[in-house]
């Protein structure tokens, strides 16, 4: 198998003769893992040839391996590889190595360097990333006693199962952070079937809501919290 993998590596580099290419195509056609191997070679080549000066700087204080240990790519090399490569390209405006024509490069560079993209990257800081990771990975993180009374906006609270607030089809958990993570606008993400909302409050704190809840409900809760 190693001999075949070595040939695959040479095929990827365009260094096999015609007869070897024919032989290898037949083998690769029958073996999915060899096909994936080509994608991974492509990924590695792209990743190592990037200039780190073009990478968006983002400091992280925690060990990434732990922070992401329970998330979707645990055993999926190709999935993680795709993400890695995605960001390698998304954050890098030098497409000269890819033989892409100038107009197309400009279009992509424009998308990458858009105000929205830059804002997203700049506002993402180590604390925000950690916060989101904790919400998703740590079941106890959102289950602290609620500092807010939501009865005035029609929500019932149940402390038996981690302080869950519910009304109709909606149910969620909340917590309030004393820091604002540098955000000045509502930000939200979808994780599986649940939503995560981060709502900056007037007093500089941030309200986090996590669960099955609509944006308009999140806004009405934020309005209540601001009173």
């Amino acid at each position: 198998m190693n001999k075949i993998n070595e040939k695959l590596s040479a095929l990827y580099d365009g260094e096999l003769n015609a007869a070897e290419v024919d032989e290898l195509i037949d083998i690769i056609s029958k073996e999915k893992s060899l096909q994936k191997q080509i994608s991974i070679y492509s990924l590695i080549g792209a990743a190592v040839s990037q200039q780190s000066s073009n990478v968006i700087a983002l400091d992280t204080k925690k060990n990434i391996k732990n922070a992401f240990s329970n998330i979707w790519f645990s055993n999926a090399l190709t999935a993680a590889a795709s993400v890695l490569l995605t960001l390698t390209f998304v954050n890098n405006v030098d497409f000269s190595r890819m033989d892409i024509n100038t107009n197309s490069s400009k279009q992509i560079s424009s998308a990458i360097n858009s105000k929205e993209a830059k804002n997203t990257a700049e506002k993402s800081n180590e604390y925000l990333a950690d916060h989101i990771m904790n919400i998703i990975n740590d079941p106890n993180y959102m289950s602290s006693k609620t500092p807010l009374d939501l009865q005035n906006v029609g929500y019932k609270s149940n402390s038996d199962n981690g302080y869950i607030h519910s009304k109709g089809n909606e149910s969620f958990q909340l917590r309030i952070e004393k820091k604002n993570f540098g955000i000045k606008q509502i930000r939200y993400w979808k994780h599986g079937n649940k939503m995560i909302y981060l709502v900056p409050l007037n007093d500089g704190r941030v309200l986090t809501l996590y669960g099955n809840i609509s944006l308009s409900s999140a806004l009405s809760i934020a309005e209540s919290a601001n009173k």
């Binding site: 993998n5 260094e15 056609s29 990434i64 240990s69 960001l87 033989d99 806004l219």
Partner: protein, 191 residues
């Protein structure tokens, strides 16, 4: 793109044009990550990027006969992907999504979960991979770097390092295997 890489593309394209799906599947696997990355920069969505990547390669397969080789294969694939991405952005589904997120009560900053995790993974992983490459045995590191960073042919590397071509090929392969092994053990699997 490296010249030898273009040469092998031409061989694979000719075979694919003659109906060799195995050859086409090699091209798909070789360029899928780049196409996906390009589409992700437009859609900011994993699912949409995956769908559009598939559509791109289906279209490429259907139109392969019209590829004359005037440009590099990836340039052509890239154009197909960009056109699909533009149509997607102009589509009603995408507009509806934008409208739905436009709420008057608050100024909404539209993000996606992928944005954060990817940015965090990115810098750290790249750094770790590059650090790991520096720990490879000198012979592997030199051959791999000359190939992947400088785009040298095996023959060039053979001359530069005064090593037989077969050894160069083996070293580059071993370097890649070590990097993959490192990625699997250190960057992805649970500790």
């Amino acid at each position: 793109m490296k010249k030898n890489s273009d040469d092998i593309d031409s061989v694979l394209i000719e075979k694919a044009k003659n109906g060799n799906k195995g050859a086409f599947s090699i091209l798909v696997n070789k360029y899928y990550p780049r196409v996906y990355a390009t589409l992700f920069s437009f859609t900011k969505s994993k699912e949409d990027s995956e769908d559009l990547s598939q559509q791109t390669f289906i279209k490429v397969w259907q139109q392969l006969d019209s590829f004359r080789g005037d440009s590099a294969f990836f340039t052509w694939v890239y154009r197909v992907a960009i056109n699909l991405a533009k149509n997607f952005v102009a589509s009603s589904g995408y507009k509806k999504q934008k409208i739905n997120t436009s709420i008057e009560q608050a100024e909404i900053d539209i993000s996606s979960f992928e944005d954060i995790e990817s940015v965090v993974i990115h810098k750290q992983s790249l750094k770790e991979i590059k650090s790991f490459i520096n720990t490879l045995p000198e012979s592997l590191k030199t051959a791999f770097t000359l190939r992947e960073v400088e785009g040298r042919s095996y023959e060039d590397i053979s001359v530069i390092t005064d090593t037989p071509i077969g050894t160069v090929r083996s070293r580059i392969f071993r370097a890649r295997e070590s990097i993959i092994d490192f990625m699997q053990k250190e960057l992805i699997t649970n500790e």
